[in-house]
Symmetry: C2
Subunit: 241 residues, 2 copies
């Protein structure tokens, strides 16, 4: 198999699994899009993809692994902005100013697809669904940020952590992975930082939920034992009544 063939195949996977463009691109259109997506580049744990202030040229689709985005304030304190799992797109916050407002680091060995943004701009004028996809992708991020806003401003520590776990669970489920048994790719410190809590609080809540038979926690391994109860903790409500 020639190198360019492998490339095309890997990039078809990008379109289908990585970029997740959901519908109705023709195969020809997919080829055009794929041709612009650069080969996935593998990165070790703790590698920096880009840093605050770096020039923005490309979006990145996560193929495998997990990453965090963060900023540093003047006193050097880290602020975790979000986490990225396979299938998610990195860099949407950088389009506006042409430089990245956040830094990105891998939390474990990861692979990314680089997608030059000027190509997206050019192609999205020709391929209607790609433009629609981009608008929806950006809009979805805004909507999710609003939910996060609610989480951070109104919820207790227990609700925050419950919601966080359910969110991760849902994202794993979307990727055909187990929604009840998974591994936290990030440290307790990162979780605490992201949720605006102290590490100690995260630790305490997790052990409390474990004592209550809602979770089983072993280091980074988490098993959701009682999904309904976890929903109650997170939302004060339960999907089945």
């Amino acid at each position: 198999m020639s190198d360019s063939q492998k490339f095309t195949i890997s990039c078809h996977q990008c379109s289908l699994n990585g970029l997740c463009i959901p519908t109705s691109l023709t195969f020809d259109e997919m080829d055009v899009v794929d041709a612009e997506i650069k080969r996935a580049k593998p990165l070790q744990k703790n590698a920096t993809v880009f840093e605050t202030g770096d020039k923005f040229t490309s979006l990145y689709a996560v193929r495998s692994g997990a990453l965090k985005s963060y900023t540093l304030d003047l006193s050097g304190e880290e602020h975790v902005v979000g986490f990225f799992l396979p299938g998610e797109i990195i860099g949407l916050d950088a389009i506006d100013e042409g430089q990245h407002p956040t830094s990105i680091k891998t939390l474990e060995t990861s692979a990314l697809c680089e997608i030059p943004f000027d190509q997206i701009e050019a192609l999205s004028k020709k391929i209607h669904n790609l433009q629609t996809y981009m608008y929806k992708l950006l809009s979805k991020e805004i909507r999710e940020d609003q939910q996060l806003h609610f989480l951070l401003s109104k919820k207790t520590a227990e609700e925050k952590i419950g919601t966080f776990l359910l969110n991760l669970s849902g994202r794993y489920k979307d990727r055909q992975l187990s929604p009840t048994l998974f591994r936290l790719p990030m440290s307790r410190t990162d979780i605490a930082n992201f949720l605006g809590l102290a590490v100690e609080t995260v630790s305490r809540v997790l052990t409390r939920l474990q004592r209550q038979q809602v979770l089983k926690v072993d280091g980074k391994e988490v098993e959701i034992l009682d999904h309904n109860q976890l929903c109650l903790v997170a939302f004060n409500e339960c999907p089945n009544g």
Copy 2:
């Protein structure tokens, strides 16, 4: 002057002041865009523009006034998601799902331009700068939400309110209004709700900042007396060293 002429003129203002498309549309292109923007519709105080779950068809550019977006949780509690001032665009969070995740109410008499989204989609394939503008607009919102995330998860009540006031100040300044003397269009309750604080805390912080000669507060009228000091309160830092 014919009705259609008036329409065009009002809509040129939309492009320049309302939509704030910053650069390089030709006059012909502006005419095309403007032709699709519906006449500003005036709304009284406390009017509902749309509600959670309503079908999404248009974005709205604020021409005058002020609005808030909010959701209601199951117990009927309101959660204020954000505020909109003249020149800002409402509805970006609705593109993804095709229905509005939030409700919008006017905080005072306001006027909006309705911009059908299918027209934006169609035109942004023809007019490069419009597509770029839309990408940047959406991206900017994401970036600002990240800053809000930081505000809510890490800052104290005083820092939150200081930052909130400076944010408003900046937005008024962008609109050629006084950045030091302005009127809060929203109630203390809305501010508290938005920032994840109790009304009492907002009230206390405002009076404290007034005692410290940082602000002058009279009901909804606010005057920033000591901008540097307010920056210190908000960010622990001061623009001039």
